[in-house]
Amino acid sequence: MSSTIHPPPAYELSHLDALEAESVHIFREVSATFERPVLLFSGGKDSVVMLHLAARAFWPAAVPFTVMHIDTGHNFDEVIDFRDRTREHLGLDLEVIRVQDDIDAGRVVEDHGPGASRNRLQTTALLRGIAEHRFDAVFGGARRDEEKARAKERIFSFRDREGRWDPRAQRPELWSLYNGRHRRGEHIRVFPLSNWTELDIWQYIDRERIDLPPLYYAHRRPVVLRDGMLLAHTRFLELAPGEEPVEASVRFRTVGDATCTGCVESTASNAAQVAVEVAASRVTERGATRADDRISEAGMEDRKREGYF
């Protein structure tokens, strides 16, 4: 009997390949074990990366999920354009759930005036969409580095019949053995990007040449300075007395409701340049650009408990 000893080759994945492999594994687990998964798609960079990963996970087959957009009605036009182009391009089965429908039906009441946002109203629309379509697994693009309540989130996150998250009763999650057990009416939120950081996302977008809405790159537009944040002056933004839009070269770090998503001054016109800016940034993306996260120390935790993603 003989045994040859070979010099060990460097069998190592780069951090981006390791993150990609972990996400791909998660997509495949869900596809193989759930009946009706859905992928939440907002046209934002995280959900675009998530869709890109899903497409890669099932190559050469098509993405085997429905895609759902929770439409606040206060979206940037560029994002809606991008969403519809993506639907065409990938042949997606896209469900759009409109917050406006909940408002019209009296299920939620909208705030008015400067500072009003429909962000919080999304929870009702999301839970309605999940219930109407009996989705049992819901992919979200949330990352643990975004916010400290999200840092506590499991990759498979159990939600009860009301869509609620109980942070003190989370299932232990070991190795890559994900427990998706649930009963009728309950569902699992799945976060394939859990271990990605904002910088990882940009490095990956750069590497994979992933197309994004143009909002993410530097462009000139009228903005309003409010509470230390630059808000885009759109038709949805009600100006407070004395507020005067000015033009600036900006880009968006996150893309949500146009009334509460701020932008940052920037000249970065491609993903590689954005990655350099992100690496040097001294402010988190939510701190810089999300008015709704500034409400309270536990703002995100409270919203997640209600069923937010």
């Binding site: 993150l19 990609e20 190559w59 400290k148 003190r168 190795w175 053995l177 057990r181 649930h182 271990n195």
Partner: protein, 613 residues
């Protein structure tokens, strides 16, 4: 190329874990201004005279209110060399299950010790759990050095205390760093306050710890997650595409490799391997997510596993496992039924018995225990509905780990690490030992015990012949022969017999690791000595088959081929087993052979049959 390093923290409450992580994040510039502002505001509002960095990591309302960590939080930071994922795990005993959650995927465990208090119960518990989970690298941070006047002797006392405990653990790489998390000494940078310390800072250590060889690159394993069949009308070239998607959990696969699908045992050849998105790969190794195309159309589905024909996992429905009990709603009892998630398989599982409960502090095994409660650790026997294809956890975390799920509530109730097959009453299945390039098959030890002249050697010779005929590499370790060399220095006193058995057991493990089945035939009269060998095999993940050659004393004495009984009866030799020294028959041998089973060739055939060959 930046590498990803996964770190789990451990240590008792108030040893300063959250502060240390906060400091690590802060000093590596991973804390952002808005986060720091929030922490400073909260610190001030609580009347603290410094910025409480622990507030950076405690993310839940209840955690901030109570000032303790309840659940795992994951934190991220990077240096030019590595990206770090830190699982910040709770120290409270009541949240040990969350510590297990955070540690299961870690490359490195950070254990904090308060320099003033030294090693406490939670330190031991967490260090033990880290070793149980197979984390190869343990870094002990002796914290709060500022509160012991940066004392070198105090540091060394703690190191000594920890080392003494760690000797009982299975830790490959142990290091110690004296730090002050509060002030940042030796966290990201070396400090001037402890000139006597010449090692690297914690961050320096984390940047350089070598983890590439921790993965198993020997045993090729890929559990199949799903079958990819595009069948797009629009693309006829894909009409016949059938790929098996999965994440490689061990070894290396290459196009052209002969592969076997287990448990079915069908073989084929790898036609192509595709990375995410369809990148053709020359090879796929542990932790790659791939799609494998085979030359032949086989019936393969989720739950099956691809391996190499000459290097298969163990297959069976009965396993032994260490479990950490994670449920506060129910206890583990013998006879309970659960759903087991193992690899990509989900199957029914019944707890056949609790062998012992482990006291994590003393490592004492309580064999009288009848249940496991929240956070308790013990060894159980499990019978599954479908056969499992597994390796011992020590050999492969991917194929050796499982969780148990409560069928009714859906709760994850246990984390399990397979120690090996449960051999009692079931055939052991292993593959034939043809170790080729870089492959090391799992072998087994057949341990024949019985009185002098019971026929052990004759059975062993026949067994060796039979295994050779089946191309199984084997080697006979005969107690009498070994006493001329390996054990020539030993007599027949109980301690000498114990040492004799120990040495032969170790040789058997060495043989097994080389892919050779050891056939040991030794009187080995004491149960305790044989159990020790069995335990060593269990720990090494090598099947141990105890065969009791159960020939009555009277018949052995009647045979007496070497005249030993006659000499013992005449008092010429003393301490002769069965005459003036006891023989303790095995309580639960895998197999017992009696003269009524036939001649030595028939008895050997019975062993071959038991082995499933």
């Amino acid at each position: 190329m930046q590498q990803l390093l996964r770190v789990a923290t451990a240590g008792s409450v108030d040893d300063g874990k959250s502060t240390l992580i906060g400091r690590l994040l802060f000093d590596s510039k991973a804390v952002f201004e808005d986060q720091l502002d929030a922490v400073e505001r909260t610190s001030r509002s609580r009347g603290a005279d410094h910025t409480d960095l622990a507030l950076l990591t405690d993310g839940l309302r209840a955690e901030r209110e109570q000032g303790i960590t309840i659940d795992v939080a994951h934190r991220y930071f990077a240096t030019p060399r590595r990206k770090f994922v830190i699982a910040d795990t709770p120290g409270h005993e009541q949240y040990t299950r969350n510590m297990v959650t955070g540690a299961s995927t870690a490359d490195v465990a950070l254990v904090l010790v308060d320099a003033r208090n030294g090693v406490v119960e939670q330190t031991r518990r967490h260090a033990f759990i880290a070793s149980l989970l197979g984390i190869a690298h343990l870094v002990v941070c002796v914290n709060k050095m500022d509160l012991v006047d940066w004392s070198q002797s105090r540091f060394e006392e703690v190191v000594e205390e920890f080392r003494r405990f760690a000797m009982k653990l299975d830790v490959q790489d142990l290091s110690f760093v004296p730090v002050s998390a509060l002030h940042g000494d030796n966290v990201a940078q070396r400090t001037v306050n402890m000139p006597w310390y010449d090692g690297s800072s914690l961050l320096g250590h984390l940047e350089s710890v070598h983890i590439a060889s921790d993965r198993n690159l020997v045993d090729a394993r890929m559990p199949v997650q799903c079958v990819i069949r595009p069948q797009r009308q629009s693309d006829s070239s894909l009409h016949d595409f059938r790929g098996y998607a999965g994440t490689v959990v061990g070894g290396v696969f290459k196009p052209g490799d002969e592969v076997m699908v287990v448990p079915s045992g069908r073989t084929s050849t790898v036609r192509a391997i595709w990375g995410p998105g369809g990148a053709p790969l020359a090879e796929a190794f542990a932790s790659s997510a791939v799609v494998v195309e085979l030359e032949d159309q086989l019936d393969v589905g989720r739950g099956d596993l691809l391996c190499r024909p000459g290097n298969r996992p163990l297959i069976g429905r009965e396993i032994d496992a260490m479990v950490c009990w994670l449920s506060d709603r129910r206890e583990l009892h013998s006879g309970d039924r659960y759903v087991m998630l193992h690899g990509t398989r989900s199957t029914g599982a019944r707890v056949g018995g609790l062998d012992y409960r482990l006291d994590v502090n003393t490592l004492h095994r309580d064999t009288t225990a009848e249940s496991l409660e929240l956070n308790e650790i013990g060894r159980i026997r499990v019978t599954t509905t479908d056969p499992l294809t597994f390796d011992p956890y020590r050999r492969n975390r991917g194929t050796g780990s499982f969780v148990l799920v409560d069928e009714v509530t859906g709760d994850t109730v246990a984390a399990g690490m397979i120690t090996g097959p449960s051999l009692s009453g079931t055939p052991v299945v292993w593959h034939r030992g043809t170790a080729a390039d870089g492959e090391r098959p799992t072998a087994a030890t057949i341990w024949l015990t019985g009185l002098s002249a019971s026929g052990k050697s004759s059975v062993a010779v026949e067994l060796e012949r039979a295994l050779h005929a089946k191309h199984v590499a084997c080697h006979r370790l005969d107690g009498d022969n070994l006493r001329h060399g390996l054990t020539a220095d030993l007599g027949f006193a109980p301690e000498d017999r114990a040492e004799n058995v120990r040495r032969v057991g170790e040789v058997a493990i060495v043989l097994a690791e080389a892919g050779v089945v050891a056939i040991a035939c030794l009187i080995s009269p004491y149960q305790q000595d044989r159990e020790r060998v069995r335990e060593r095999h269990r720990a090494a993940g090598i099947p141990f088959v105890e065969v009791f050659v159960d020939t009555p004393l009277a018949e052995c004495e009647a045979r007496d081929p070497k005249g030993m009984y006659a000499r013992a009866r005449a008092g010429e030799i003393t301490r002769f087993t069965g005459v003036d020294d006891p023989y303790e028959p095995p309580e639960h041998p895998e197999l017992a052979l009696r003269p009524s089973d036939g001649d030595p060739a028939d008895q050997a055939a019975a062993i071959v049959g038991f082995l499933g060959l």
